[in-house]
Point group: C2
Chain length 457, copies 2
């Protein structure tokens, strides 16, 4: 049933009430989504019925914001822990991939390797690990530290963490467990591999106490866009989730990453690049804009002003009239940063403080598309066909309605164009993504035979 | 529907193929239980249909045994991670409690607090944390250490770990989240409590990013029997899972723990003591003994001899004839230890090496009962009525058959005697166990009103 043309990969990025900062106030939103398990089950089952490759969960190990006036007006402080949530969702779904974010900063690799391996067993080969490093002070302070690790150290630790985790996933060969009742032989001891890792940050003996994954290894996802992040991703990531504002950015990033792969002995198809997209869809352009405007109207000024202060390097706008102009701000040195771009924009278009915070209230740095199904499809198609993306992580503005709109309006259009599947091709997340099943290092010969099904298909 | 007489609490201690060391070789056993999610779902649903208070999962963060010849003949090396497994089971059950073991030795309290809080939200108030410390060298070596923490330090760390976790569970008051769409107020900032813990082992700011549990707090379970363990349990445990060989031991432990509670301002009903019981049940005594003998026959000599060597302080019996007598062994100083008791037993009854290892192959230090439903019920009733136990953690010799026997043969007998429920009285694990819902410390007055429903009932 697989189409002979190259097709999109699609993730459904689930996030409590939605990705728009005021989503929880939408009349149709499930305001208690952060504690409502049924809400997540319905979204996951909906995404599975629509044949998404995976659902995707972000994470933070702390309450990010210290500005209580703003925090208490957003739905960001209470949410499920991603691995327990995905394990529970695994029991009520059959095919869709399950990707959870877990930071390497405040965890032990043995625990992380084990949880994803366990989720892979529970789900029959559908787990993926979004490897991130933590940079929030609020997170560090929950883990015996005053400050987060500095950037280079975070990535050095992350790289070693990755190698320990994947090494532990190879503790057992695929056919280690013979479980032969008559002879009493439960596993073949020659197929057990002790990792014996001794590195800079970790010393981990192994073996893992979970059998090898149905997928060989759970899928490794990354999101880093810095130089250190790209380097780590080119060596280790199988999916890259990334934020771009423009097609040019996306295309440059795509070429850069795919160009780095051969240095690590990897094929371009070994990594799927999936930028985030924040779609607001209407049957007409006017309807789409109206839907967006409805959300924008719900941004409480306290929340909007706080958001703007965070982006513009901590300047406190809260005592200024929200519909007045921006104040003069001190120049910053160095290259044009995001804050400089925003200030220039405000100046050029004569924006008030409110106007400006509304420009950043939606997609949090990701590409935002407000329009008809054809317009959204056009944009995804361009990014895909002109090598800016292998697929997309769909960030619905609010749940469930924003995801419903994408499924009911955009997916049929994508399918008419042959860009997205009508049925799953396989059972595991790797099979959905067209990623090869990693051979066990004890049998590298398998690797050649199994390599690159996507390239052959 | 609650009976006016005091009734048992019952846990179903699930463990891969079963608690007997040769369980996996039983013709009816699910040999791949350690990777078979469906197997666990069936057991959990069975235990729920039988109205057990909870299912219980042990854990170890490593492969315990370095003796590969023996390890490769047992079903102990591969198993699910307990929290992912229980979260998945939560989605397919409605009432039964879900207790997972997590060690304080190789985890961070923020992560542990969060996972159990998340499981409590997912399950609607059914989660319990069995707090243990890790003592295996094989575990320590997976976490950057050569040796496990020494005993006193382990317990000091565990006590502080407990206080941080429960403190984080109180980050939010019950009614913190108002989620009022018209005003834009999502939570009441006066009902958020920042822990700000700075102690010897941990520095954790908080707040937790999960709302207060449906149970107030997940239930805290402990298993320590040492002086340090009892002391910690008397201050903090709500359920104690313990191993006793004899009724006298059980009674002494029960009196000791209940006697310690007032010193911590606690009521005897605030802690439920639930020893493990390993029941082998037959319609006749002969049938029960036959069932037990069937399992004993399946103990591979390599496994049995290794087990014996571990219990008798590392002496290597593997070169001696298995059906010959025990060798002379060096005397140990100090009080009569378990190994001394075993050696005396072997001498007194003229046991061979095989005879002796079979004496310890079943219940791993827990009370073993082989007999008719009436005999098993008699014993449980005696322990319960004569203050040796508030309930029992049932360790079926093999799954599913050993649990089926308990449910089909023993439970009807217990119900005839009015000792076990016929229907759940409530929805949460606390309600099943008759434990009060902890008041939030910001409103200690609630505590008095809600205290001790079990004492009132």
């Amino acid at each position: 049933m697989a189409s002979s043309t190259r097709q999109f990969k699609l993730g459904a990025f689930l996030m409590q009430t939605g990705h728009h900062i005021a989503a929880w106030r939408h009349p149709g939103a499930q305001a208690d989504a952060g504690s409502n398990f049924r809400h997540y089950v319905e979204l996951a089952q909906k995404a599975e019925a629509a044949k998404f490759d995976a659902i995707f969960l972000a994470d933070s190990v702390g309450v990010r914001n210290s500005d209580l006036a703003s925090l208490s007006r957003t739905a960001r402080a209470d949410h499920f822990e991603p691995l327990t949530l995905l394990a529970a969702i695994a029991a009520l779904t059959e095919r869709i991939g399950l990707i959870a974010t877990v930071s390497t900063s405040f965890n032990e690799p043995f625990n992380v390797a084990r949880k994803f391996a366990s989720l892979d067993q529970i789900s029959g080969g559908r787990s993926g690990w979004n490897l991130v490093t933590s940079s929030g002070t609020g997170e560090a302070q929950n883990f015996n530290r005053d400050e987060h690790f500095e950037h280079a150290l975070r990535y050095e630790r992350a790289a070693e963490f990755h190698d320990v985790v994947t090494g532990l996933w190879d503790s057992w060969e695929d056919d280690s467990f013979v479980r032969d009742k008559p002879s009493g032989r439960y596993f073949d001891e020659h197929k057990l591999h002790v990792l014996g890792h001794k590195g800079t940050h970790f010393s981990v003996r192994g073996p893992l106490n979970v059998a090898r994954s149905p997928q060989g290894r759970p899928v490794v996802v990354q999101a880093g866009a810095s130089e250190a992040g790209r380097d780590l991703a080119a060596r280790t990531a199988e999916v890259i989730f990334v934020a771009h504002q423009t097609f040019d950015e996306a295309k440059a990033f795509y070429a850069d990453i795919k160009g780095r792969l051969p240095r690590h002995g990897r094929h371009p198809d070994d990594v799927k690049i999936m930028p985030g997209i924040f779609p607001v869809v209407g049957r007409t352009q006017a309807e789409a804009e109206e839907k967006f405007e409805q959300l924008q109207q719900l941004v409480h000024p306290v929340v909007g002003v706080s958001l703007l202060s965070n982006v513009i390097g901590g300047f406190d706008f809260s005592r200024l009239p929200v519909d007045g102009p921006l104040p003069e701000l001190p120049e910053t040195n160095g290259p044009k940063s995001r804050q400089r771009l925003l200030l220039d924009l405000a100046r050029r278009e004569n924006l008030s403080i409110r106007d400006l915070y509304l420009r950043i209230a939606g997609a949090r740095g990701h590409q935002q598309v407000v329009g008809t199904p054809a317009r959204v499809a056009d944009q995804l198609q361009q990014w895909f066909e002109e090598r800016g993306a292998d697929g997309f992580n769909i960030m619905a503005p609010w749940f469930p309605g924003g995801l419903d709109d994408f499924i009911e309006l955009v997916l049929p259009e994508l399918r008419r164009r042959g860009l997205f599947r009508t049925e799953y091709e396989g059972r595991t997340l790797r099979e959905h993504l067209g990623l090869r099943r990693p051979a066990h290092p004890a049998h590298p010969a398998h690797s050649a035979r199994e390599a690159h099904p996507a390239a052959i298909a």
